[in-house]
């Protein structure tokens, strides 16, 4: 890939890595507060949780956005407006600092995951429109889009739509009907996660096609079939979060049917497992491939869990338990973070080779083994909680006592994830700084 002389993308990526580091630290604090709620009185759980969530979400968005800004000019598609990209970065940083400041000051006002005062949604929407306009004006010049262009466009468009939808709770028609309001929250949140997944998976396909030198891969029939299947699930597969709501039964039925189409994705992964492994073995010298391989394994694990959770008769036991957290963590750390780290290493060293640092390998394995332990502990805690809630109808306090051993495992393995990812980030952040200095 050519150098284009612009580094807005890399600045986004640097910001993303720093956000991940801070988000992980708050996550570990929150995990230990499950065991000792009085721990860190200066940082109660109602502050540490939103800080953890927002910073990790910032990592995903910032690094995915940074990748798009970075890659397009380097494959011969110059950005429509460099200045607009710089403004996007400026607004992103200013809004991020305002959100962190509001949480630290204990000023809330929004819904779960977007708990900051709703006025801060305005700069988020403005900067996103700038990003969307810049992307559209950049890629509309290109004919015959590969699938990752479609995926990035879908992610950008549907984040905008679903973020507006998520804020519709402020409209009296929605907030005056509890079932409608909660349905709206999870309909919009489900699609919103789907939109960032589109951006991240698009990045994964781009990196894989560049590494393998196979330009046909992102234009194949199969790639587009899988894209449209993912898009269908983004649009209609959200309702497994709302099975327990007293909404019309057909809402549950449609969601169940759509969710089961993901069995096709699972079958595709299993069918292509050996050939994917063959491609990866030939390119094992590249650090980015290690992360992509880990992401593939986590996709398999998470998709299997997601399919189980989408069966209403199972969901009624798992809903509102730590299994949901296991699924969220498996997706954000196991899939999204592994893909985005692959993207970071591909940006920093597109030809691979020199990336044989021992500590990053240790970090990689420590992260994945710790995440697996973390995941298993949460699933076990969820199974026990689900059974005790539905079958034995115990109180919250009694259940928390029974699941404490799993929560200890969850907190300790959280430290393992922080340590493992810190070893990787120490290397990647240093390389990003060096690259930025060299390009100035």
């Amino acid at each position: 890939m050519e150098s284009s002389g612009t580094n807005t993308g890399l600045r986004f990526v640097l910001l993303g890595q720093l956000s991940l580091w801070a988000g992980l630290a708050f996550g570990v604090i929150g995990a230990f507060q499950f065991l000792w709620p009085g721990l860190f009185e200066w940082m109660p759980f109602f502050k540490s949780r939103p800080l953890h969530v927002s910073l990790v979400v910032a990592w995903i968005f910032s690094t995915a956005i940074g990748g798009i800004y970075h890659y397009l000019p380097r494959i011969g598609v110059p950005l429509y407006s460099e200045r607009m990209a710089t403004w996007h970065l400026g607004i992103f940083i200013a809004t991020g600092l305002a959100i962190v400041g509001s949480y630290l000051a204990g000023r809330f006002g929004g819904r779960e995951y977007w708990e900051f005062p709703p006025v801060l949604a305005i700069p988020i929407i403005v900067s996103w429109v700038m990003f969307g306009v810049n992307y559209a004006a950049t890629v509309f010049k290109v004919k015959d889009w590969p699938v990752h262009y479609w995926m990035w466009a879908t992610g950008i468009l549907f984040f905008f739509i679903t973020y507006l939808e998520a804020n519709a709770w402020m409209v009296p028609y929605v907030r005056g009907n509890l079932v409608r309001e909660i349905t709206l929250q999870w309909k919009s949140y489900g699609a919103l996660v789907g939109s960032w997944n589109m951006m991240v998976y698009g990045t994964s396909i781009f990196v894989m096609s560049q590494l393998s030198g196979n330009e046909d891969l992102p234009r194949s029939y199969t790639a587009f079939l899988l894209y449209f299947l993912g898009f269908t699930n983004l649009l209609f597969g959200w309702a497994h979060h709302t099975y327990v709501l007293p909404a019309a039964p057909w809402v549950r039925g449609v969601a169940y049917a759509v969710s089961m189409t993901e069995l096709l994705v699972l079958a595709h992964i299993i069918r292509n497992w050996r050939s994917s492994l063959g491609v990866m073995r030939r390119m094992v010298h590249h650090r980015a491939l290690m992360f992509i391989a880990a992401a593939e394994a986590w996709i398999f694990i998470n998709l299997t869990l997601a399919l189980l959770l989408s069966v209403p008769a199972v969901n009624v036991y798992t809903h509102g338990t730590h299994i949901t957290v296991a699924h969220a963590m498996g997706s954000t750390i196991g899939i999204n973070t592994m893909i985005l780290l692959a993207s970071v290493y591909f940006m920093l060293c597109p030809k691979g080779g020199e990336l044989g640092k021992r500590w990053t390998s240790i970090g990689f394995w420590l992260t994945n083994i710790s995440l697996l332990t973390f995941f298993v502990c949460l699933v076990a805690a969820g199974i026990v909680k689900g059974r005790l809630t539905i079958a034995e109808q115990l109180s919250h306090q009694e259940i928390m006592v029974r699941i404490t051993p799993f929560l200890i495992g969850f907190a300790v393995s959280g430290v393992g994830i922080l340590t493992g990812l810190s070893l990787i980030l120490w290397d990647s952040v240093g390389r990003t700084f060096t690259r930025l200095r060299s390009e100035q």
Binding site: W150, V179, T232, V244, S275
Partner: protein, 147 residues
């Protein structure tokens, strides 16, 4: 993947599928918000005080520790039916006094009353967790109240 022959999908087909899905999404969204959630119970309990109480719930970030219909943080108990099953006084004692695990948030009298009104409204919309249900052979559920 390796060695596979690639067949391309035509641009018109891609655009056709894309816009069809978007139109279906728009239609389905209207159906969900209109028909799918129109028969919620307890709307009469959504008073001005309950509306203020909802904002108190947001401003003190209660959702970081508590759930409604199983959605929210897991540090504290689900609050869907806390006032309808255990009583208003029970919930008030926790809000005003805190516990070993829950901080005293320092709500004033008005905020406490509004929050309790909101929780009463939440409790009238339905019941959670759903323990009384039937399972179909294909894995769907039918709650005893038919919803």
């Amino acid at each position: 993947m390796d060695g596979e022959t690639y067949h391309c999908m035509g641009l018109r087909t891609k655009r056709g599928i894309f816009w069809t899905l978007i139109l279906l999404f728009a239609g389905y969204s209207v159906m969900v918000y209109d028909q799918g959630t129109a028969h919620s119970t307890g709307e009469e309990a959504y008073t001005a005080a309950a509306d203020r109480g909802k904002m108190v719930y947001h401003q003190y970030n209660c959702v970081s520790c508590h759930q409604i219909y199983g959605l929210g943080g897991y540090m504290g108990p689900d609050l869907t039916n806390v006032t309808t099953s255990k009583g208003r006084a029970y919930a008030e004692a926790f809000i005003t006094g805190g516990t070993a695990k829950m901080p005293r948030l320092g709500l004033d009298r008005q905020e406490t009353d509004d929050l309790l009104d909101y929780l009463e409204y939440v409790g009238k919309a339905g019941h959670y967790p759903v323990t009384d249900l039937e399972t179909t052979f294909y894995g769907n559920i039918i709650p005893a109240d038919g919803k």
